[in-house]
Every structure is written in C-alpha cells, then in structure tokens.
C-alpha cells in the first residue's frame, strides 16, 4: 500500500467545551494509546498530556465558554502516535508558554503553568499551529513495535 501524504485519523472525538467532557477525552485517549501499542504507563501519560491540552483549550482558547467545540484526532503513522487537539478559539501566544522552574514554583505561590510543562515531559514533540480550520495543538509520541492497529 502506498502511504498517503496526510493520513486520515484513526479515531475522532468531538465534544463541547465543558470540563465535564474532559474525562471522556482522557479515557478515549488512554484506550486508543493502548491500541496503538503504548504500554499501560505510557498510555496513562499520553492521556494526561491530551487532558492538559484540552483543558487549556477550554480555559485559554475559549476562556471558559462551554458552548464551543473541541475535536481530538488520533493519527497513526510510521512508528508514531499523533494526537491533534483542534479548537476555533483564540490562538496560543507562544511567548506566553511558560518555562516552569520547579525550584521557584512553590515560593511563587503559583498554581498554574504545569500543563504545558507536563505535555513537554511526556510527548516527543508538542507544537501549536494555526490553520484555516482552527488552532491545532499537535502531540507526537514515537512508539516501539507492537500495537493492535493496522
């Protein structure tokens, strides 16, 4: 089979931008990551990264509005799992993306800024891009062999 340039997603989940849907996103990610060949620990981590990205869409891109949409797409290609979180809200200001210094974190009494840091710790790449269809946060994890999916 020839490989298409832009593979179509294996699985797509579209939910409203209410935090009550975050658990569905998390669970779906965890299951899909397992099917893609992630071991149990890694699947939990990837689910966390996608939860964080989706939480940020709700809190930042949509500023808490509950009536917008979040689309989560799972793509599998040549040894990697790619998860795209898509919104049509305010774009990310890349300069606002924080570098977390955990040493100073506690004394600064901050209680935010950990999400993007976690995403970066877990995934191999984290990128944000604007497209005509919305903002896309793309999380990529390289996989070893295995996985049930074709």
């Amino acid at each position: 089979m020839s490989k298409p340039r832009r593979p179509s997603p294996v699985l797509v989940l579209r939910v409203p931008s209410g935090t009550e849907f975050l658990a569905t996103i998390r669970d779906t990610t965890q299951r899909t990551a397992r099917l893609a060949g992630c071991d149990a620990v890694l699947a939990e981590q990837v689910a966390l990264a996608v939860d964080e990205a989706s939480t940020n869409v709700i809190e930042h891109a949509y500023r808490g509005a509950r009536d917008r949409q979040i689309e989560v797409r799972f793509l599998l290609t040549a040894g990697e799992l790619r998860v795209e979180i898509v919104d049509d809200g305010a774009p990310v200001n890349r300069r606002a993306l924080p570098e977390v210094d955990l040493e100073r974190y506690a004394s600064e009494r901050r209680s935010g800024g950990l999400g993007v840091h976690l995403m970066g710790r877990i995934m191999d790449t984290v990128t944000f891009r604007r497209t005509p269809h919305g903002n896309v946060c793309c999380l990529v994890k390289r996989l070893g062999a295995g996985g049930e999916l074709p």
């Binding site: 975050l22 974190y105 506690a106 950990l114």
Partner: protein, 110 residues
C-alpha cells in the same frame, strides 16, 4: 488531618479537592496527610491546587504529606519533580507517624 480524594482530579473536579484543602486550613489543621488509595488520576489542576496552599500550610508549621499513590499517580508526581517538593510515603500510617518527629517543613527531606 487525613484527606482521601477519590477518582479523578482534573479541571472539572478540582474545585472539590480545593475546598477540602481550604476546609482543613480554615479550621487550623495544618498537618495534612493526603491518602491516595481511591485516587485514580491527577491532572495538573490537582497538583496546582496543592502548590496553591503549600506555602501557607508550611508557614503555619504544618505540611502536606502524601501516601498510598498508585503507580500512575506516583509517576505524574515524579515527572514534575513533586517527589522533591513533597514527602511521599508508601503507607498512610508512615505518613501520619512522620508528623511525630517534629512538625512541618519536610521540603528538604532527602
């Protein structure tokens, strides 16, 4: 004071967890053990809630100590280096007893 958060702590449920922390602090109980038996998952919102109160707790001579985390949750704590910021114990009992030898602090426990 023992806290037993259960299920998922994510952006949807974190309010409940924050309220439990605030209630402990508000009633002057600054020696807090967070026992994770029933805890399946914590997102950064939950970790942020801890960070949001830890200075006040320690400033009052107390501490938040953590026990009985499952593998997934422990893994998240470690990924963020929270095992250097908080004392984490295997069992609830160890965490409770740890308050016997001197009160709070704990951040520099190696």
């Amino acid at each position: 004071m023992l806290l037993y958060p259960s299920g998922f702590i994510n952006a949807h449920t974190v309010r409940v967890f924050e309220e439990a922390l605030q209630e402990a602090i508000g009633s002057g109980r600054f020696r807090i053990v967070l026992s994770g038996q029933g805890l399946r998952y914590v997102a950064s919102a939950g970790l942020g809630a801890l960070m949001g109160v830890i200075e006040e707790v320690r400033g009052n001579g107390g501490d938040i100590r953590i026990a009985e985390l499952n593998e997934t949750v422990l893994n998240i704590f470690e990924m963020l280096g929270f095992n250097h910021l908080y004392r984490i114990f295997q069992s609830e009992q160890e965490a409770v007893l740890s308050f016997r030898d001197g009160a709070g602090g704990g951040r520099t426990d190696a």
